[in-house]
């Protein structure tokens, strides 16, 4: 019943590779032999229902947790096995947007957007201020540098999170539910921004989302995650034609099917 699996980029060329990844939470196995490779320079989407293991895969790829089997390669490096120096160097080439933005509440917008440049890379204050302004402009924001995070609406908060993720000009942008919880207009604006950022900054992008209808208009490559592994992979058009009942249930948004609500 497996759907057509389009030829993904070879692991060595892909900036984001999940290679037979296994992981558990408590006594539950969340990921079982998960295999996925995002093509370089493309917008790829890993789509799955709530609890499918998307965020777990992201944390494993970033080296924030250790897999029970397999490996995740970020820009060719297995961060779970890398030295702290290698890990730090690789993370400087990656930008991440977390669900809800995960902005630091004790810093203002400029402090959040310039965090990597100022606190990690120790760039001069003027250079950081300029990069913060430019990054905010890239996401369509002006004169918000000194606002507190709790003064921001949801849509602006996501834009600030995007600006923070690209402020240090990464090669790879990872986004976990970048539009989750937003109204359709704000969600569309975030989607358009992601496309623009990819084009302007020549990024490789990996979206992790539960909403295929949101992801398909910009995804050039996508995989549906079900029961801890990829149920179908390919272009959005190929996935729409996939016979796998879990894929069809997710795409149709039906309560009945192999995916438990």
């Amino acid at each position: 019943m497996s759907a057509p699996v389009a030829p993904a980029a070879a692991p060595a060329e892909s900036p984001f590779v999940l290679d037979g990844l296994r992981a558990g939470a408590g006594d539950r196995e969340v990921l079982r032999d998960l295999r996925f490779a995002a093509p370089r320079g493309a917008i790829a989407a890993l789509i799955g229902a709530a609890g499918a293991g998307k965020s777990t895969a992201l944390r494993l790829a970033l080296g924030l947790a250790r897999p029970t089997g397999g490996r995740a390669l970020l820009l060719g490096r297995d961060l779970a096995a890398a030295s702290s120096a290698e890990r730090a160097a690789t993370l400087q080439r990656v930008g991440v947007v977390w669900p809800g933005g995960a902005l630091f509440p004790d810093r203002d917008v400029a402090g959040n957007v310039g965090f990597v440049l100022r606190e990690v890379q120790r760039r001069p204050r003027e250079e950081v201020a300029r990069a913060v302004r430019e990054s905010l402009l890239l996401v369509g924001l002006k004169h918000v540098e000194h606002l507190a995070v709790d003064e921001l609406g949801d849509g602006v908060r996501r834009r600030v999170a995007l600006a923070r993720a690209v402020a240090h000009r990464p090669e790879l942008l990872l986004l976990d539910e970048p539009a989750g919880g937003l109204d359709p207009i704000a969600a569309d604006a975030v989607r358009e921004l992601i496309r623009q950022l990819r084009d302007r900054l020549a990024l490789s992008v990996v979206l992790l989302t539960r909403d295929p209808a949101w992801a398909f208009p910009i995804a050039e490559h996508a995989a549906i995650l079900h029961a801890g592994r990829v149920a179908a992979e390919g272009s959005p058009a190929a996935l729409r034609a996939a016979p796998d009942p879990a894929v069809q249930q997710l795409l149709a948004g039906r309560a009945h099917g192999p995916i438990e609500p």
């Binding site: 939470a25 408590g26 539950r28 709530a50 609890g51 944390r59 970033l62 924030l64 730090a88 993370l91 400087q92 990656v94 991440v96 977390w98 669900p99 809800g100 995960a102 902005l103 630091f104 509440p105 004790d106 965090f115 990597v116 606190e119 990690v120």
Partner: protein, 214 residues
């Protein structure tokens, strides 16, 4: 690190409620002075700034310094901010723990000074004649106050350490996801830190040679 630490320090002082510290100090000092002038008549007034005022201030600060900061860190972990920090190459020690330890070590001496002032103030302003006679007879000096401030700084750092340990401890794994566990996990971390902080303060008080009947 200094700017975040000063920000944390301001929050601790604000949340501690200077009036609460002063009220606790007044009540404790009056009880101590009354007892000293009465039945036991052996307590030196220098015990107030040296030991009792730091203890009172630290126990009052278990809420704002230990429980509240632990809840804040637990919320930060559950909202993915800790992962965001680590994924950007930031350090939990440098950006979260160290500023809180420094804030604790700075904020507690301020509360101790407040407790000193509240306690010794009622004595020297002659609002409580028996307490005044007790305090002035002992000749409380600047050295006694300084020793109490150092003790307060140690208590503050200990409370902050307990808060960081409780707040940054990994949540229990579960099927329902972080969002649904969040309120309970935050409350649990705060409760653990509040109780753990009180035990740590009392333990440190004894370890530093402090007693409970002065």
């Amino acid at each position: 690190m200094i700017a975040p630490a000063l920000g944390q320090c301001r929050r601790v002082l604000f949340e501690a409620g200077p009036a609460v510290v002063a009220a606790a100090a007044l009540a404790s000092f009056a009880a101590l002075a009354g007892d000293a002038a009465g039945a036991s008549a052996g307590a030196p007034a220098t015990a107030w700034p040296r030991e009792a005022a730091p203890l009172v201030a630290a126990l009052v600060a278990c809420g704002p310094l230990a429980a509240a900061r632990a809840g804040e860190l637990a919320r930060l972990r559950l909202d993915d901010q800790l992962d965001a920090l680590r994924a950007m190459g930031g350090s939990a020690w440098r950006h979260l723990v160290a500023p809180r330890l420094l804030a604790g070590a700075l904020a507690l001496p301020v509360l101790v000074l407040l407790a000193d002032a509240a306690g010794l103030g009622i004595a020297y302003l002659d609002w409580a004649p028996r307490a005044a006679r007790w305090a002035s007879a002992e000749g409380v000096g600047i050295g006694d106050v300084a020793r109490g401030l150092v003790r307060g700084a140690l208590f503050g750092a200990a409370l902050a350490a307990v808060a960081c340990a409780a707040g940054l401890a990994p949540p229990r794994p579960g099927r329902d996801g972080a969002a649904r566990r969040a309120p309970r996990a935050v409350a649990r971390a705060a409760a653990r830190a509040g109780a753990g902080g009180a035990v740590a303060v009392l333990g440190l008080h004894v370890a530093l040679g402090g007693g409970f009947s002065w």
